[in-house]
């Protein structure tokens, strides 16, 4: 890994971890730190949102540094992840609506599903091309 790539990876890691931290603060801050203060709650949400945008931009920056095979591998993984998320998400909604089982899904489950799908498809695609 060259120096430019290492810098981009470090930058993405930094924004990702700070996004996770600001998300945690925005989620639990009003309950455990500032006791439902409206301004601080709004401010923490805005900081988290801005941090998220910066994370997306550094991810795009890293993606643009990939070579053609790396781009292909990541694009295929994204296509599989997007397809799986839509199909599994809507199937789950249908099953729940039909009353086949009673399980209240939250948005965090979808985020976890997307993360795991992307990771698994990425590993499979890397193995396919090596």
């Amino acid at each position: 890994m060259n120096l430019a790539r290492k810098t981009k990876v470090r930058k993405l890691a930094l924004w990702t971890w700070s996004w996770v931290a600001t998300l945690a603060i925005a989620t639990y801050g009003s309950k455990y730190i500032w006791d439902d203060h409206a301004f601080l709650t709004t401010f923490s949400i805005i900081v988290n949102l801005v941090n998220g945008v910066l994370m997306i931009l550094s991810n795009r920056d890293l993606f643009n540094d990939f070579d053609e095979l790396e781009k292909k591998i990541h694009l295929e993984s994204m296509a599989i992840t997007l397809g799986l998320s839509v199909i599994v998400g809507l199937t789950f909604s249908l099953v729940e609506r039909a009353g086949l089982f009673n399980f209240k899904a939250e948005i965090s489950y979808l985020v976890m599903f997307i993360g795991i799908s992307y990771l698994v498809s990425l590993v499979l695609n890397i193995r396919r091309y090596t």
């Binding site: 070579d67 053609e68 095979l69 790396e70 292909k72 396919r128 091309y129 090596t130």
Partner: protein
């Protein structure tokens, strides 16, 4: 697509790492091209043609 990248690289006594650096791709990409698991883009094919001083069609052969 068949190719002669591994053969031509060996003739120049280059490692995959050397070729990757000159062409501007990762070593894994060179490896995937040599194993014919991945077809390179036109700019990459042209860079290889320039490096090996051969026409593209003498390096890459289109076929099943």
């Amino acid at each position: 697509m068949k190719n002669r990248v591994r053969e031509l690289r060996s003739l120049k006594n280059m490692t995959q790492e050397d070729l990757a650096e000159i062409i501007g791709v990762s070593r894994q990409t060179i490896n995937a091209i040599e194993k014919e698991k991945f077809d390179p883009s036109l700019p990459t094919a042209f860079k290889m043609a320039n490096l090996f001083k051969l026409p593209i069609e003498e390096i890459f052969h289109f076929g099943k």
